[in-house]
Amino acid sequence: MTANHTPQVREPLVHLSRRTEFSPLRAWGVRLAALVLGLIVCGLAAFLLIEKLQQNPGRIGDFYYAFIKGSFGTSRKLWKMLKNLSILLCIALALTPAFRMRFWNTGAEGQTLMGVLGAIAVDFYFGGKWPEALLIPVMLLAAIIFGGVWGLIPALFKARFNTNETLFTLMMNYVATFVVSYFLVIWVPSGSSSLAKLKYGKLPSVVNDYFLIILIALLLTIGLYIYLNYSKHGYEISVVGESVRTAQYVGISVPKVILRTMLLSGMLCGLTGFLIGSGLDQTITTESVGGQGFTAIMVAWMGNFNPLMMILTSGLIQILNQGAAQISQDFNVSGALPDVIVGIMLFFVIGCEFFINYQLHFRRAQSKEAVR
């Protein structure tokens, strides 16, 4: 009896390899395909969730048209979209230096909220007593200091004890929330804990209320692009991000870079907090930032930590948000629908990066190659 002893190694169905080169044009093709696929899945989800669409499937055209109508329908909607884009972009920009250093700052929500608190605290105590020309710069200063300190605390422990920064900054968000609700209780003794809109300390209106915010976001984008790509600091950040050991070897003081970068990150979050507090709300709630600190993490990551790309990604998120809000209005569904649609689209955008970075080799194709 003869047995076949040759070991049979079964080829896996799919074999992966990292792509070495992939033309940017094709990469954008993949991203576009992912967006289209995501929109189709959103349409399917809409059929499941929206009763008015089930009754009248012909309105699916309205469903997709709402994405355009929501942001570009009127000039007011366009300005609102640009304003939302700018705020989200500012927070994402603030995160970028830290992310380039591989410091996973999940605390933008809290750092921005502290910025709002700083601005509003100054406004609350000194509004009306000081001239606006003094009040507003001090509000800005306070916002930047508050945000910077909130970012610096986790960085100190990261630099000294290598404390896990993702979890630390995440917790700081909630501490910030309760710090704000503490001050609300003190400021509004009546018990309602909602601060009425303050009369003073409003960022002056140029062209309209939103223009200045958009301008600041644009300047910040360019400034940060230059800082990260063409300055010594930016280079040090990249080296620490790539390899802490290399950084130590070439004589970069890693703790110093961590502290400096996180201070910058927190200060920029504080600046955004000032824009929200002084430019838009003139009041504060625990929801003043409204989760944008978390959305910004996704914006920065999807934009490959490139400030210019992030304009596109934050635009995408805000167009989806406003489109979906338009849908909930047109089809009369729960206000939480935008989250569902943004979530689905994010899955596709996040997932498609895999097909840009890796190449799939299927079993059949490979064995043919071997025969040849």
Partner: protein, 317 residues
């Protein structure tokens, strides 16, 4: 009943929400995946269970079956969420933080849409009595200790046993510490990551369902679920990645979170309104302190898993 005992039992019952959530998260983190989607997963766990109860709540099925169906469908909905997460992070090697946050956005939104369509008089009013067996009729805090509370205790203890006393647990921890080494030993890294993430998500989802149907048993309860998801992630650190410690940790968290409302009942303690936010802040501050202390002491068994947050690709060097 003695007011302090009442308070303790209430903290235990409240804490079970985080106990589920953080037991699930510990399993996932031990496989090397920081799942920030837990709030979304817990929300969907709640929505999935309530969706099923909305179908069977008014039917004439035996109560036992209704309880089991609700639990299973809650776990199933949460597991599906875990499947999305693990497909994106394990197979497609996407960034875990980003995927988790997207999952939370999606899950919280979808839950709110689903819950707004359900009928509370069907999914809540009758079934909640079944879930609160055996203490359903009582007027004191004991009424909140139901079937799912005890299930939570069992799951937390079992998870600790599996993680630290069995071969499967040893393999799992190896995957989380150093997947390349585990792979070299012949452990199927992908399978371990998928299974633990899905099972962990299923467990976490039950926490959301427990809070909505048993502990709070009100139709607005689902609105505060997201915050408890984040608290569950905090509890993971507080418990230093040991599931059984979440039982104590969750009670302390529950105590701190609800003591602001309990303390007002005590005549001998003066509470100002301003004290409430401070008390609610304490769980997070304690967590930060634990995180710092464990990193300062730098004991190896108390650290986060070595490869937490990093994707694994065999050909990477």
């Amino acid at each position: 009943m003695n007011i302090w005992l009442n308070f303790l039992i209430d903290s235990l019952a409240f804490g079970a929400t985080f106990m589920y959530g953080s037991t699930g998260e510990i399993l996932t983190e031990k496989a090397g995946h920081l799942n920030l989607g837990i709030p979304g997963i817990m929300c969907m766990g709640g929505a999935g269970g309530c969706l099923m109860l909305n179908l069977v709540g008014a039917s004439s099925l035996p109560p036992f079956l209704i309880v089991v169906l609700g639990i299973l469908s809650s776990a199933a909905a949460a597991t599906l969420m875990g499947l999305i997460y693990s497909f994106l992070t394990v197979t497609l090697r996407a960034n875990q933080n980003v995927t988790g946050l997207a999952l939370t956005t999606f899950g919280v939104g979808l839950m709110k849409v689903i819950m707004s369509k359900l009928n509370p008089s069907v999914y809540l009013v009758t079934p909640k009595v079944y879930y609160r067996w055996p203490f359903a009729g009582r007027q004191d805090s004991l009424q909140c200790l139901g079937v799912m509370f005890f299930l939570g205790l069992i799951i937390a203890a079992a998870a600790s046993y599996v993680l630290y006393r069995t071969k499967i647990g040893l393999h799992l921890r190896a995957v989380g510490e150093n997947p390349a080494t585990a792979d070299a030993v012949g452990i199927n890294v992908t399978r371990y990551k998928y299974l633990t993430t899905c099972i962990g998500s299923g467990i976490a989802g039950l926490g959301g369902f427990y809070y909505v149907i048993d502990y709070m048993a009100s139709q607005e309860a689902y609105l505060s679920l997201e915050a408890f998801g984040w608290l569950s992630i905090a509890l993971v650190i507080f418990a230093l990645w040991r599931p059984h410690r979440t039982i104590i940790g969750s009670t302390i968290f529950g105590f701190l979170f609800s003591c602001s409302s309990f303390i007002t009942n005590l005549s001998f303690i003066q509470v100002t309104m301003a004290l409430k936010p401070i008390l609610k802040m304490l769980p997070y501050v304690f967590t930060i302190v634990v995180l710092i202390v464990s990193s300062v002491r730098n004991k190896r068994e108390n650290q986060p898993p070595e490869s937490l947050g990093l994707p694994y690709f065999r050909e990477n060097r």
